[in-house]
Amino acid sequence: MPENDRDLTRRPDPDALLALAEKGSRGKLTVFLGAAPGVGKTYAMLTRARRLKEEGVDIVIGLVETHGRSETAALLEGLEVLPPREVSHGGRTLTEFDLDAALARRPRVIVVDELAHTNIGESRHPKRYQDVEELVDAGIDVLTAVNIQHLESLSDVVAQIAGVPVRERIPDTVLSRADDVLLVDLPPTELIERLKEGKVYLPENARRAVDRFFRLGNLTALRELALRRTADRVDDQMVDYLKQNAIEGPWAAGERLLVCVGPDRLSEKVVRTASRLASGLNADWIVVSIERADRDSADSQAVRQLDETFRLAEQLGAETRRVVGSDFVEEILKLARREHATQIVIGTRRQRFPLRLLRRSLPDALAERASGVGVHLVTDSGETPAALKPVRKRAWPKGFGRALAIAAGTVISATVLGVLIESFIILQNISLLYLLAVLASATLAGYVAAIAAALFSVLAYNFFFIEPVGTFTVAEPHEVFALFVFLAAAFLAGGLASRIREQAKAARRRATATQALYDFSRKLSGTADVDDVLWATVTQIQATLRRNAVLLLPEGEDLVLKAAWPPDTELGVSDMTAARWSLEKKEPAGSDTDTLPTSPFQFRPLTSPHGVVGVCGFVQNAKPLEINEERALAAILDQTAIAVDRARLSRESLEQAAQLEGDKFRAALLSSLSHDLRTPLATITGAVTSLRELGARMTAESRDDLLKSIEEESDRLMRFVANLLDMTRIEAGAINAKRDWVDVADVIRSALERARKYFPDREFETSIAADLPLMRGDSVLLGQVLFNLLDNANRFGGEEPVSIYARKEGDEVVLSVTDLGRGIAPADLEHVFEKFFRKGKPDGRSLGTGLGLSIAKAFVEAMGGQIKAESPAVKRRGTRISMRFPAAEADLSEKERG
């Protein structure tokens, strides 16, 4: 067994290897760490940059503050410097690091100074370290510099040492994830020397703090912090190396801290302390909060405080958990066992005297029940938990007047009733009336009203009913006792009643929310159209959260605004950038987030099982979402994502069906074309072979009929081929309509002659106006058009004659061919001029090629005319195809004059 154990521990830790692999595709981050301004970080960084440049590395200066120092500026000589971005802020034009330009330039290595800098105005990220992270993520190596005082976990220590608050902070994870940290060290005495010589640049507002800050004691302390932090890192790296290479370790045996936090200020301090402890112990640490299962955490201020604490913990590199339970101690210990925590860190506050007697504090209880786990207590520094005060204050006045009024009202009613029935019942029973009043107040207006009603009742009962009546004095001692019992009963009853009322209210609220969500999901399930889904969503967000919302879906490369409330909402450039960010990184962006917080919208990705389908943005009004609103929003977005996904799938399946339909249509078309070509060919081949092989045995009439059929089928084939060729010419754009003078009547006559030859059984009627003007056009094309129309009319025209009209209307020549067949269905009417459109069976047998009308249309349009179909034409029957061409009368008269 020991053999096996060692083998197991010897195997490289998969997590360590994974972290190493992830680093592979990322750029390398090198941080130059200093103890204080002026130690020469920028100088060291630029020296390194020059050396890389000399080695031929593609290196660019993204941003360096030389502060007008010539030594530093000289180092920039010969290095490519990225032009900064100009930002107007408060009327002034300032310069800022240009992240997009850097990403577009894509050097191997980039130098970005001042890691802790806070970006001004409309930047993608509020902090420069986030810019740097994006560069590293994009695979660019970054050289950067920062002072130890800016580290989040040390900020309170530094503030204590130096006596100045640190405003610009960076999460410790930035430093711990850096591939290299170089300590730029300068002994404090030398630094002070340099400062006195004016070699250290300090911002305007820091000048005043100089004397306080640059004291030997301070600088020594900061230097120690920087040295220690760098040494810790070296230790970490060694441990990582040992783990990756499966070297049996002297490293600390997996210390794990469980850090308990709650919705109070102290928790932030607990987190910072735990962070330092964890890095000192090389331990993983988990931050956990426990929420009461039976309490609706509607107190948004507390929730926000807790969120803040969690954000801090994540920045400092902790894992975070939120647990729901009622027995805090039990839950914490359970989690500690599950996570193999070795130490529990918890904050404790000195409790006021009576409370301390009444119940044991959580840390005490933990310490008592925890076994094998260390408990660290972080004490309050004495400051009042400021965050808690306003919460109470805010909750108090809300409905306070109303509660008092209700309490007074019920007590007065009870008193009046008491006075009325006093003579009928005994005194003690009147007190029951007041109990009723207290219960009523509790039910109607909650706990405050219940207490007020209890107090009012005691006073009223005393004043009106207890001897001596009309005073607040009590004559009998047992009456005093009765009063106290009554008061206690009222408190208890009122508390219970108000609690029930609160629960009922919460249940009702939840029921309403559930109902709304249910309605919404039902609405969504009924719609297959994406636009309807999106519209339902923005209106739902408006109705539930009373916030304006927008929805964007990706279309190809772009992200497109698809629905908005109000509908005329427009998005600015930075809004769109935030939305795109949210889509790409699958995380919230915009207002109240770390990315582009200047946008008025907060964008959330719509995530379905198939990935991110779009982005929803909503306006962050002054106050952020409360926890139940947050839940409602998450549910709405989930539903929407699924509905959009489903709508997209159903659209895709529709498209597939359409494609299938198209394939079927093409197959039918091909088979009908082949039928049209093959039938005349089969007839000709059959007739010819019959004549050759069996002709001798046939009668003369049979032979003659076979020859005639050969002739007719050849004609048919020829017309068909001619149509196909015409169509090919049209498709190839090769029709050249002549602009000759055309006598329309003449063209009609010759087309009719041809039609009579081909369709001898068909009757044709003509009506040509006597004053028919000439028109400009191509008589051959027009003749072909007319013949095609007559052919068509013959095919579909039933038994009745086909008529041809030609007349002048205004300055147009109008020609029409009308048949009295069954006509064309209105739905088909718009398609008759489409290529290969044909009525009837899908295989289109004996209904023509579907080319005639589309050729007619192309020819008519080539001659500058228009063509249209009407059905029914006459008396609910038939089809009329009419054409209009401009008349050429004016031109003609000119010609005559000339």
């Binding site: 091909l670 088979s671 082949s674 039928h675 093959r678 039938t679 005349p680 060919l681 089969a682 007839t683 000709i684 081949t685 059959g686 007739a687 072979t689 019959s690 092989e693 069996l694 002709g695 045995r697 046939m698 009668t699 049979s702 032979r703 009929d705 076979l706 059929s709 007719e712 089928e713 295989d843 047998r845 004996s846």
Partner: protein
């Protein structure tokens, strides 16, 4: 000898127009039907000896007409079809059609098919025991195959294949029919068996296996045995 009656089912008047005089001149009596319903009625009343059936009919699917007739009659049926309707042809043959001919066709081709079909009907009544083709002779009773008097050594499967084709001399036999009758119902789709065995068989019986005259390939459909009488 009575004149054989042929029912021509086709809705194209032009086709009927040349088939009527041509088949008449070839010595057959022609009855016509332009629709499926008409075809079913005429097949029952006119007792044709052969039916020529176009699969594309205006009122019903030609295959339904075929299946309907096959339900009560073994009259030879020749399908008229287009070259691009391969699956339709195979389906019709599997439904019991005896042969097919592609449009456009020469009249000689059609009359040859009609003769083969009529001959088969006679064979059904008293089976022929001897067949010959290109110097090859097959004795279906003694299971002996000779070429120019010399006995050929065929494997049992090769013999079964050849006998199956020979029994349907002049007519197409589909891949599926060959496979299921020689190898069994489970091998109906194993086309590669056929390719291999037909190749071997041709190597043994054809004078020039590169230009087979006895077993002709009907692309995509099956094989056809061409005897001396065809």
């Amino acid at each position: 000898m009575t004149v054989e009656r042929i029912l021509v089912v086709d809705d194209e008047p032009q086709i009927q127009r040349f088939l009527r005089p041509a088949l008449g001149a070839a010595g057959y009596e022609v009855v016509e039907a332009a629709t499926g319903q008409e075809a079913l009625k005429t097949a029952a009343t006119a007792a044709p000896d052969v039916i020529i059936l176009d699969l594309g009919l205006p009122d019903m699917d030609g295959k339904d007409v075929l299946a309907n007739i096959r339900a009560w009659s073994q009259v030879p049926i020749i399908i008229l079809s287009a070259r691009d309707r391969e699956s339709e042809k195979i389906a019709a043959l599997d439904l019991g059609a005896d042969d097919y001919i592609e449009k456009p066709f020469g009249i000689g081709e059609l009359t040859a098919r009609i003769r083969a079909a009529l001959r088969h009907r006679i064979q059904m009544e008293g089976a022929e025991a001897q067949l010959s083709a290109e110097g090859l002779s097959i004795d279906l009773v003694r299971r002996v195959v000779t070429r120019d008097g010399e006995t050929l050594r065929l494997t049992p499967k090769e013999y079964d294949l050849l006998a199956m084709l020979a029994r349907h001399a002049g007519r197409v036999v589909t891949h599926k029919t060959l496979l299921t009758s020689v190898w069994g119902a489970a091998h109906g789709e194993d086309l590669h068996y056929l390719r291999v065995f037909i190749g071997q068989l041709r190597g043994k019986i054809e004078r020039d296996p590169g230009d087979p005259k006895i077993i002709r390939t009907e692309p995509g459909v099956g094989y056809r045995f061409i005897g001396d009488e065809d």
